[in-house]
Each structure stands twice: as C-alpha cells, then as structure tokens.
C-alpha cells in the first residue's frame, strides 16, 4: 500500500462532481471511486461528465455499482443484463478499472447456485473486451453471499481471472465478525479493499448501528492496520479506497471530508512504514501516531 494505490470514494460526498473531484485532487488523491449516478445525473450530460473526469487526469479505480444482478430468470435476467452492459460501457468510457458488484439480495436470488455462478461468469466474459474487472462484494442479508467467506466461495466457483472480491472493512468488522473471517479465506483473488472505520451508535429506537468514518477515527484502527499488514504478507496487488462517507459528511463541504480522509491516509501510511509490525499492536501505540482532530 502506498500513496498512489489508495483512491478516495467520492460517491457519498456533497456537491457537484466537479467540486468533489477538485477537492480530492486538490488534497493529493490521484485516484477516486465514482458512482454511475455521478456520471449519469450530471447536469451537462453523461458525455460531458466523462470528458471532465478524463481531462482531469484523475484515475478511476472503480465504478459502483451493479446490484441484484445474479440469480434471476426470464425478463428480470434480461433486464439486469441490460443494466450490467450499460454500467460496463460507462466503466469503459470513463476509464474505470473495476466495476463493483454487490451480491444479490433479491428474495428469488440464491435459490439456484448453478444459475448464480453462470450469471456471474457471463458478466465476467462481458467485461473482458471492455478491459474491466469485476469486484464482487458480499451483502449482509444476501442469500447468495452474505459475508466475505460466502462471497469468496462464489468467486472461486465462477473461476474467472477478471472476477474477484471487494472487501469492505465496515462489513468485515460488523457482519463478518472481524479479522478472524480472513483466516477462513484464501485471499488470492482480492481486487479491491474499501477502508473505513466504525463508531458504534446505540439508539433506543433502531438498536445498534455504526457510523462509517475514515480509518483511525473509530474503534477499529488497529484492526485496519493489521488487515493491511496481512495483505502485504500475501503480496496483495489490488487497489485500496477510503470509503467513509456518512449522513453527517453528506451535508458538509467536500473539502472538509477530503481533508479528514487525507489525514487518515497519512496516519495509515506513517504506521505502515514499519513493514513487520507485530499482529495486534497495543491500542496506545497505535493512538500515538493518530492525527489530531
């Protein structure tokens, strides 16, 4: 992991695409993660949005996202195929390396594993001539792949070179139960690691939920460092992105959010200069290097 390999997810930030892009690039990010809606809903049209991104010189690590694609039959399958092709076309046009695909959570999906694998293999074939790779992400509650282990099982069954996993640390520390989930994975087909920390919120009305914040700003900073250390050990060559927007950040100027993300990245990189960090460093030692808020 180095500075250039880390993108900033600007999907959930406030403001027009231009403002978010300029904020990210102004703070030194050289890659971003975009949503298809960022392009399609641009006031001057999608072609202008694509040209603007291309001409900005920023790299697009990934475009999000394709939802509920696999496991359907008949007209719904054809419809989802049409959506997938359009998203791959956008990826190609804007120069995105990856299309993020969230495991289907539709009620009728997950019933036929063979169909799911066939649909995803078809998607991976569609992506080849466009030069796109598919980053498949578990979806809590999905009957297809509710967690990292389940998603990796699907990836292994699809068995295509351009079809791999997206790991979201927010999901890893909540629905996957933490770093121990990694011990049950092969970890050899990871394409994207989405980094966020979590602050737990207890709300009497809705129960426990978590606020996504940049790495180091929540309760899982040391686990994120440990995750990256393990990925280093297996020579992970995919991309990272800081993906930590929340409802509060969505109403703040993009500059403010990007500044937090950059401080977080610098904190991470400072810690990661020590390649052979011991597993599970004491929290106090981690905290010494944290940026001041």
């Amino acid at each position: 992991m180095d500075f250039d390999s880390v993108a900033l997810d600007i999907c959930g930030m406030a403001g027009p695409l231009e403002v978010r892009l300029n904020a990210a690039m102004g703070r030194g990010f050289r890659q971003v993660v975009l949503s298809a809606a960022d392009l399609a809903s641009h006031p001057q049209g999608v072609d202008m949005a694509i040209r603007m991104v291309r001409e900005s010189g920023v790299g697009v690590l990934a475009l999000r996202q394709l939802d509920d694609f696999e496991g359907h039959a008949g007209a719904l399958h054809e419809y989802k195929l049409h959506v997938a092709k359009a998203l791959l076309g956008l990826c190609h046009a804007v120069g995105a390396q990856l299309l993020v695909v969230k495991a289907s959570s539709a009620p009728d999906a997950g019933l036929e594993r063979e169909r799911i694998v066939r649909d995803l293999a078809k998607l991976s074939a569609l992506a080849v001539p466009k030069g796109i790779r598919i980053a498949y992400r578990a979806t809590p509650g999905s009957a297809v792949a509710a967690d990292l282990v389940g998603a990796e099982g699907i990836v292994n069954a699809v068995e295509r070179s351009n079809f791999g996993l997206a790991l979201d640390t927010g999901d890893l520390f909540t629905s996957d139960g933490g770093l121990d989930a990694l011990d049950r994975c092969y970890l050899d087909q990871f394409f994207l690691v989405e980094l966020c920390d979590l602050i737990r919120l207890d709300n009497a009305a809705v129960g426990e939920r978590h606020l996504r914040v940049p790495p180091g700003d929540g309760a899982f900073g040391d686990d994120i460092v440990e995750l990256i250390r393990r990925l280093r050990v297996i020579a992970y060559g995919g991309g990272f992105c800081i993906s930590a927007t929340n409802e509060d950040y969505a109403q703040l100027p993009a500059d403010v959010v990007v500044e937090r993300a950059m401080a977080s990245l610098q904190w991470l990189l400072a810690l990661l200069r020590h390649v052979d960090m011991p597993r599970r460093r004491p929290a106090a030692a981690i905290a010494q290097g944290r940026p001041r808020t």
Partner: protein, 288 residues
C-alpha cells in the same frame, strides 16, 4: 440446421476460417502488398469499396468503407469462423457473455452474426461455405480472373496475434475458452520464430490465437489491445520465403529474427501491417 447437436469439445462446430478482414484507408496499397504475398483480387462488392482477395483456401476482405468514421490506419478488423450453425453459435456466444456487434452492413448485405472481439475487431460466424458462398450475394466476380487462385507453397491461415495489455492474458484465455471453446496450449509450446505469450488452439485444431503482452520494461510503450498480425501456415517455410522474396516481400533478417525452418516475419507495411510464416501443414478440408 435447427437439429444441430453440438460436440462437447467443439460446441460451436468451428471448422477453420472463412475470411479475415482488414479495414484500411489505403486499399490500393494494401492490395499491392497482398498480391506480393500471393493473393489475387477475385471480386468486388456490388456497391461498396470492398474487395475480396483469395489465395488457395484463404479469403481476405479489404474494406475501405467501414461503418464508422474513416480509419486512421490499416488494421485487422475481423476474423470469421466457419461453424456448423451460425445462429446456434451466436446464441451460445451471447449466453456465455459476448457482445453482439451490429449486423454486418458495411462489407456484406448478408446478415452475418458477429460478436465483439479485442480492440475494434469482430468475430463472425459463417455457416454457408459449402454449396453456397456468402460472397455470391454481395460480390461481383472480376471478369477474366481465376476465382480460385492457387496458394503459394500451400499457404493457409494458421492464426492471428493479439496484443493484450499487461497481466490480461488470463482474462482473454477465459474469454476465448468460454465463448469459442479455444484451449490454451501448455506453457512453452510455440510455433514460428516469435515464441512468446500465450497460445490458444481452436477446438477444430486448425487455428491459433497468440496473446502477447507488452515486454517487461516497456511500460512507456503505447500498447493497445487488438489483432496485430496474421500468421500463414507453410509446409516448407524456407521454400515459401524464397518465393515470396522473389516476388518482392521483405522479411526481417536482423537481431534475433531471421527467416528459417520454423518461420519468418515480414517487415512492417503501411505503417502497421506485418505477416508471419509458420511451419505448418494445411488441414484436410479445412477452410484455411
């Protein structure tokens, strides 16, 4: 042909190459190079600037009127496979994840189904090649010209070379395996004088696709994906090389590249076109 029952090892019933197509802004110059190589113009399109060249079992189309904007340079734009049932092949390819390309209106009036290949190239499926030829509809034979000129020294289509971006060979192996039933040859098994990359064999055993990534240390080299070269099979490469040299073809003979028993490589023509000879015997009844 609706009762077609596919063979497990050759689901599409691929049986060689029906034609290969160049798109070019310089049809006369390209035609001149092709004639040096032994091709002869045998027909022209009824209404478009498209010519059919032939040599032995090989059909080659020179298309100076592409459907899109005018091409900046000459490039390999299509490979058409002979298949048992083109409609079946197309359905199988689409089910496996291919992109359908617009039905062929530029070079042919006939509805030839096709899918997107690498770069700007297409892969077509043709099932009318025995009693009835696809060229009968669209092309007018050139008067006084032998419609079946013989090949020089048994030249036949051997394969195409495809440039792929770094670390993308495995993805294209998946693509050709999943959609067309090609199989990668064991690492280290090569033909010709350029033993590199990944070699895929067609399910009929008569055609090869060589995937070549940019060489190490060439990160700054502009390397677009696409078909870059035709390989011609020749039973006796040195004899064919001599004959083609006599006709004016120039082969590279310097550095590590020299014409020999295994193969030979021509110089670059028209700024982007090369051809390769590879030691190979023509298949019986194959299309090229």
């Amino acid at each position: 042909m609706n009762d077609y029952i596919p063979e497990p090892r050759n689901v599409l019933g691929i049986d060689g190459i029906e034609f290969i197509e160049f798109v070019t802004p310089q049809p006369q110059a390209l035609g001149g190079v092709l004639q040096l190589l032994g091709f002869a113009p045998v027909a022209r399109h009824r209404s478009r600037e498209v010519a059919l060249y032939r040599q032995g079992p090989m059909n080659l189309i020179v298309n100076a009127e592409p459907s899109g904007s005018a091409p900046a340079s000459t490039f390999l734009s299509a490979v058409a496979f002979r298949v048992r049932d083109a409609a079946f092949a197309m359905r199988h390819a689409l089910d496996a994840g291919a992109w359908e390309v617009p039905r062929r209106a530029a070079a042919m009036e006939l509805n030839i189904p096709g899918i997107l290949g690498s770069g700007e190239s297409s892969i077509y499926f043709v099932d009318r090649f025995k009693d009835f030829s696809i060229y009968d509809v669209d092309f007018v034979p050139l008067p006084g010209v032998d419609p079946g000129p013989p090949s020089i020294g048994g030249l036949h289509y051997f394969g195409v070379v495809q440039a792929v971006r770094a670390f993308r060979s495995a993805e294209w192996v998946d693509f050709y395996s999943q959609i067309l039933g090609f199989r990668p040859l064991p690492e280290g098994q090569y033909f010709g004088i350029l033993p590199k990359g990944t070699l895929l064999e067609s399910p009929c055993g008569g055609f090869y696709i060589q995937l070549v990534e940019p060489p190490e240390g060439a990160e700054e080299v502009h390397w677009e994906e696409g078909l870059v070269r035709i390989g011609f099979g020749a039973p006796d490469v040195p004899a064919v090389t001599r004959e083609l040299q006599r006709r004016g073809v120039v082969f590279i003979d310097e550095g590590t590249l020299h014409p020999g028993e295994k193969g030979a490589l021509t110089q670059v023509y028209l700024g982007s076109v090369t051809f390769e000879l590879v030691a190979s015997k023509p298949r019986a009844a194959a299309g090229g």
